[in-house]
Amino acid sequence: MSSTTSSAPASSSPASSNPARRVPRPQELASSQKLMVFVLSMVLFGLANILTEVLPEFRVGPVELSVSYLAFVPVVMVSLFHPLYAALGAPLGEIIFVDLLMGNFSGVGELEGYIQLALGLYIGGSLVRDPARRWQVAVAAMVAVLIDKGVGGAVDILKVVVGVEDLESVQGLPESILALEGVAFASDFLISGIIFGAIPAAYLAPRLHGKIEPLMGMAPRDPRVPLPGRARQTAGFIGLAVVLFIASGLFAFLEYVDIELGLWEPDFLEQYGMSFLWVSVAACAVVLVTVVLLARRSAHRRRLEADHAPAAPATEAARTTTTGV
């Protein structure tokens, strides 16, 4: 036995001589808890996607009227838990459970979808200050779907609008694309954003708030203690992110038009399919990175401020915060 190596700090009254070794911050997550949020979000949204995929009852009429996803599941996750990790986990669940498992993987397109949904969820979740308030959660759901589906659709329409001026060779197709995108967007927003988004999320989140967190050994989100790492610093920030996002799509498109104007062909659909995808993925990635960096920077700044605040003895501070919860 090598117990001699440790100078057994046993005897003396530890409370005074050996202060608390770990001082928890109730709203700050350990890396393990981040993993937990990530995994939970992934698994639940994966399951939800399998359901939308295999339940034929949900295919009402043409494809565009189907439920594209059960948005309420990840929205509840980002409302209750740390928005960033929940937002990163959910779209991965979709990729793993549906796209890989069911052999429905569409390559690079998945990446674009991942980034769009993750960004939408992250911003939506960051809007929620108090998950017990139904409106906040409902707005989060709508914002998430709006960003995920709406921006993509809007950019698509823009593409066609610009494209039509240069192209009259195919009768009907541009309009059909316009109509298709319009219908898709409207129905997606109505079905995924409202019926399977805002309404169920607003119903579930307040019921789960305060119940699900202790099961995972976490403190519930407290409206008085802002979460570190959430995107919500100012209202302007969100606006900026959205504008950036749209702009990125627009820029990507203009760039494309510039290159491709001369060789516009009737089957332009697949023509710009791949190249446009690449560009928009890159643009999305740039925006996402910018958003995360901004959020981190402001969180860092706030933490610095907090550290400069007069510090009570560590244990005391922790105990008061916890009892205050």
Binding site: S3, A8, P14, R22, K211, P214
Partner: protein, 574 residues
């Protein structure tokens, strides 16, 4: 023996919690010991054990005071990864501990992650040691509970730790499987000198396998004693929800001065030595069991299965036969225990009675209604089925709403009064507004019984109602079941719990290979060791003791045993 775990002045509080979970714990566990940690719910058993492998404070970053040394290393200076070479942990919900698709892959997960080059050898050895080599390429979701537990244990063994912590192995396993786990643990303990720590409240297992016992109460050890001494404090243990084994109770009642027995054999010796026994073991069966439960005149039929054959298709497309041309009638006023080994078809039988499934061949009728002719939702007016895992029954956000759900949805008159009455009857009023999942094990069972009562079915089916309950709570549930009789025409329970069978059932249906192997009473079942062995069941200790003393039919409770061992006669038996 040198200490392998040393805990000094340990106090811990979970983040966000109102009270300390551990308060000034001082504890030394010696290398090579087999320790049982016992204590009521919330006594800090599990929290204590999580300090051994560094999950506390590295994973759960609560407030921690004091120190824990494992093999001389201060856990605070170490990391979870480093400590996992020294301490292995098998969880109470061990199924969730398995993270890889196949058994071999899961067992190798730890060694591979830690970059141990002999991982293949370790994996094979761990599987061989527990006798699960044949499962190596099975998918983990295909395993039975017992196999899952052994896989989790193998994953821990492959790391070759100095200490293995097993959290409540009996909670999710049937007694035969738990016995197997214990045998394996004892073997590892004996062959490799691995220190074993089990959190356990089944005194019978403690008596037979543990060498020392730690009693936890209010976040600190009350005492740490050798097992025999610990079990002699029967009253103190009972206060903390751990009633003494039946042999201890019997011997203390009949021969208080005899040493505390740990096994049935020791109990026989103790009783023989103290001269309690009758001369030739002729404690007659004529002094009949305390209450005659066998229903000779059967009531009208409540449910009927006629020539039922049923089976499921597996992932490879093979059709397995679970029930094979089975016929059975359940009568009014009966308390039926359906027993049999895993896979004997108990759960399938219950599912067919609910109408969730219809049989491939044959007819199932409940109150004269064929399950083929109606939907399961309509049949729910007549039958209620309670799942093994209560959390699957909690669909609403409070116990009150869960109980009210069925009558409210079906617009039955008098729902409000009924719900209030049930809450009072099942002592659920204080927890009525909480979510079922946040309750203790016993409260959860009572809440599911409340759901059943509110459905006022003619036939109530329960799947393993006493699994994962401590002994005290189990009794509570058994008593509740007995009280149901006045409301419900017939109750059938699928169970491995022979104490429940002994104390509650009036009729036992033994399933084996998809057929009814025996249709009998508890006493007759326990008097037939061949039958019991054939279906992998272990009778309650008191019945085994009774038989060993020559009592036929064997007693079903300690009270019955003491009542029937009447005349103390001179020694000289066996």
């Amino acid at each position: 023996m040198p200490a392998v775990i040393e805990v000094r002045d340990l106090t811990f509080r979970y983040p966000g919690a109102e009270v300390d979970s551990l308060v000034g714990v001082d504890l030394t566990i010696e290398r090579g010991d087999f320790v049982a940690v016992v204590g009521g719910n919330g006594s800090g058993k599990t929290t204590l054990c999580k300090t051994f492998n560094g999950l506390i404070p590295h994973f759960w970053s609560g407030e921690m005071l004091g120190s824990v040394h494992v093999g001389g290393t201060d856990t605070h200076e170490s990391s979870v990864a480093a400590l996992s070479h020294q301490v292995g942990y098998v969880y109470q919900d061990f199924g969730n501990q398995l993270v890889r698709p196949t058994v071999r892959d899961d067992v190798a997960f730890g060694p591979i992650n830690f970059g141990l080059t002999d991982h293949a050898e370790r994996t094979e050895q761990a599987m061989a040691q527990l006798g699960i080599e044949h499962l190596a390429s099975t998918f983990v979701w295909q395993l039975s509970g017992g196999q899952e537990h052994l896989t989790a244990l193998a994953g821990v063994l492959a790391m070759r730790p100095e200490v293995i912590v097993v959290d409540e192995p009996v909670a999710e396993l049937d007694p035969v499987r738990a016995e197997e786990t214990y045998r394996m643990l004892a073997q590892v303990n004996a062959e490799q000198g691995t220190t074993i720590v089990v959190i356990e409240h089944h005194a019978e297992f403690i008596a037979r396998y543990a060498r020392s016992v730690v009693l936890m109460a209010q976040g600190a050890p009350r005492w740490h004693l050798p097992v025999r001494e610990a079990l002699s404090r029967a009253e103190e243990l009972a206060e903390h929800g751990i009633p003494a084994p039946q042999v201890v109770q019997a011997v203390q009642a009949l021969a208080p001065e005899a040493p505390v027995p740990l096994t049935v054999e020791e109990a026989v010796t103790a009783l023989a030595g103290s001269g309690v026994l009758t001369g030739s073991g002729v404690v007659t069966g004529s002094s009949a069991p305390a209450e005659p439960r066998a229903t000779s005149s059967r009531g009208p039929a409540v449910a009927r299965l006629e020539g039922v054959t049923h089976g499921y298709r597996d992932v490879h497309g093979h059709l397995s036969t679970v029930l094979d041309d089975l016929s059975l009638t359940l009568h009014e006023g009966e308390r039926i225990a359906v027993v049999g080994s895993n896979g004997a078809g108990k759960s399938t039988l219950l599912r067919l009675l609910t109408g969730l499934d219809v049989p491939r061949v044959g007819e199932v009728e409940v109150e004269g209604i064929s399950t083929r002719s109606t939907s399961a939702a309509r049949l729910a007016d007549h039958v209620c089925y309670l799942y093994q895992h209560p959390e699957q029954m909690f669909l609403q956000d409070s116990v009150r709403q869960d109980i009210a759900m069925f009558p409210q949805q079906r617009r039955r008159p008098g729902t409000a009064e009924l719900v209030e009455e049930i809450l009072d009857r099942l002592r659920l009023r204080e927890v009525a507004d909480r979510d079922g999942r946040t309750l203790s094990g016993g409260q959860q069972r009572r809440a599911t019984l409340g759901i059943a009562l509110a459905m006022t079915p003619a036939l109530l089916l329960l799947d393993e109602p006493t699994s994962s309950l401590d002994v005290g709570t189990r009794r509570d549930v058994t008593a509740m079941l007995a009280a149901l009789a006045e409301r419900i025409r017939c109750v059938a329970v699928a169970t491995h719990d022979m104490h429940l069978v002994a104390e509650w059932a009036s009729r036992v249906v033994v399933l084996h290979g998809g057929r009814v192997l025996a249709d009998t009473t508890p006493a007759e079942l326990f008097d037939d060791p061949d039958l019991m062995a054939a279906v992998h069941l272990v009778p309650p200790q008191v019945s085994v003791l009774g038989r060993a003393l020559g009592i036929h039919p064997p007693p079903l409770s300690v009270a019955e045993l003491t009542a029937r061992v009447t005349q103390p006669v001179a020694a000289g038996v066996r």
